[in-house]
Symmetry: C2
C-alpha cells in the first residue's frame, strides 16, 4: 500500500485501489519470482471491474517497474538487476573496458551497529546491519562501500553465508527478504581519502575521492538502505539520464 497509515480505499478511483491491492499482495510475497499473476480477465471478474480498468491498474505497476507483461503469456513480477544501475553509471575509464560489466565484490565486514545519526534518521531506526564491501574490476579495487539497512527488515542478513551474497545486493533483498527496491537517490560529491579508504582503494591518504551517497526506497516510499561508495576521483565517471 502506498499510504500504510491511510485506509487507501477512501474514495480513490477503482484502478488506484486495485493497484494498491495488487501492490500489497506483491509485497506480501503472494507471487514469487517468475510467477504468473492472475489474468486480466480473472482480476476483472474477482474485483467486479471491467477489463479496461484492470489494465489501467496493471499498467501503473508496470510503469513503476513492479510488473512485466508478456503478450500471449501473462503478467509477471519483474526482478531487475537494479544494483547494476550503480555500475551502469559508475563507468571507470579503463581502456578497452566498456564499463558495463558488474564488478566483483569482496565482503569485508558485517556487523550490527548503531549508524551515524543522519543515517539512523533516514532509516528510521538506530538498529542496523552494516555491510562493508570492496568492489573491483579486472582485479583492481575501484569502490569501497559502506551499507546500512534496518536490522528488523533483514533478519539474519549478517549471518547469511558469504557466497550467497553475490555482487548484486538488491536481488538478495528481494529473494530472501521480499524487499523490492523501487527507487533511489544518488548524491555525488568530492572529498579526500581517509586512511582506511586509502588503504582499501590502494591510494594515498588525502588523495581526492568521489563519494556516492545512495538512499534506496521501496515502492511505498520507505527508505530501506543507505550506502556510501568511495572511489578514486581521478578515474571516476558517473552517468545519469534525465527526462
Amino acid at each position: 500500500m502506498l499510504h500504510p497509515h491511510l485506509p487507501s480505499d477512501e474514495r480513490l478511483p477503482a484502478y488506484l485501489r486495485l493497484r494498491d491491492a495488487l501492490a500489497a499482495r506483491i509485497a506480501a510475497g503472494e507471487w514469487g519470482p517468475d510467477a504468473v499473476l492472475p489474468s486480466e480477465n480473472a482480476l476483472a471478474r474477482d474485483h467486479h471491474l471491467s477489463v479496461g480498468t484492470v489494465r489501467k491498474a496493471v499498467q501503473h505497476l508496470v510503469d513503476e517497474g513492479l510488473l512485466e507483461r508478456r503478450q500471449g503469456s501473462g503478467t509477471y513480477l519483474r526482478k531487475p538487476a537494479f544494483d547494476a544501475t550503480l555500475f551502469r553509471f559508475f563507468q571507470m575509464q579503463t581502456p578497452g573496458e566498456d564499463g558495463q560489466s558488474i564488478p566483483k565484490s569482496q565482503l569485508i565486514a558485517r556487523v550490527r551497529v548503531t549508524p551515524p545519526a543522519p543515517v539512523a534518521a533516514i532509516l528510521g531506526t538506530a538498529d542496523t546491519i552494516r555491510i562493508d564491501r570492496l568492489r573491483s574490476l579486472s582485479g583492481r579495487p575501484i569502490l569501497a562501500e559502506e551499507i546500512y539497512v534496518p536490522a528488523s527488515r533483514f533478519p539474519g542478513l549478517e549471518t547469511i553465508a558469504a557466497h550467497d551474497l553475490g555482487p548484486l545486493l538488491y536481488p538478495v533483498y528481494y529473494d530472501r527478504f521480499g524487499i523490492f527496491v523501487a527507487r533511489a537517490i544518488d548524491d555525488v560529491s568530492f572529498a579526500t581519502a581517509d586512511a582506511g579508504t586509502a588503504a582499501l582503494l590502494g591510494i594515498t591518504e588525502g588523495d581526492p575521492v568521489a563519494e556516492i551517497e545512495r538512499t534506496a526506497f521501496t515502492i511505498d516510499g520507505t527508505a530501506i538502505e543507505w550506502r556510501i561508495a568511495r572511489g578514486n576521483a581521478r578515474n571516476f565517471r558517473y552517468r545519469s539520464r534525465i527526462g
Copy 2:
C-alpha cells in the same frame, strides 16, 4: 515524428499514428506556448477514432513530457524549465541556501566555431555555435559553462540580443527555434582547473573541479546540444533520481 525516415504510418496502432501526427504538428509549431490543443472529442471526430484511443495517444505525449493536461480546461503544450534540472542537482553547499534557486547567467562569448572532434561527432556537424557563460549564485561564481549547438538548427543564435538570453537556455531553444529538449545524459567526473577556468571560478589553477558533460536530445533522439560545466569540486553536489 519519431522516425522521420520511415513513413511512420506503416501498420502501426492507431494511437501511435495519432501520437506521431500530433508530435509532428507540435514540432511544426502549430500551437504556440500556452495554446490549447483541440479537445479529445474534436480529435476523435477529426481522426475517426474513439475518445479512448485519442486519450491513449495524448497520454503518450504527456508521458513524454510534451503535453500537459488540465482537467476542465484543456490540453496544453508543456514548457518546462528544463535547464533548471542542472541546478536542482548542482546544489552548492551554501549555508542558508536551499540550492533550488536558478543562478544568474553572465554571457562571456558567442562564436561560430569548429568544435572538438568528439563534440562534432555527437552533434553530427562541424559547424557549431559556441556559447560561454559564467553562472553565479549570490554574486559568487559557481559554474563555468561551454555550450555547443549545431549552427544550422539555431540560425542567428549568435547574434540574438544578450538580454533575450535568460538564465535558462532551453526555453530559448523552444521559443525561438522550435526545438524541444526532451532528454539529456549527464556525465560527472573530476579534473583539475586550467588557468582560464580557475580565473572564472575564482580558484587556483590545479584546484580540483567537478565537470558535468551533458548531451541533450530532442524527442526524436537527435543530439541537439553538448555542454560542459565546471565548478569547484569542494562544494559540489550532484543529485540524481533513479527508478
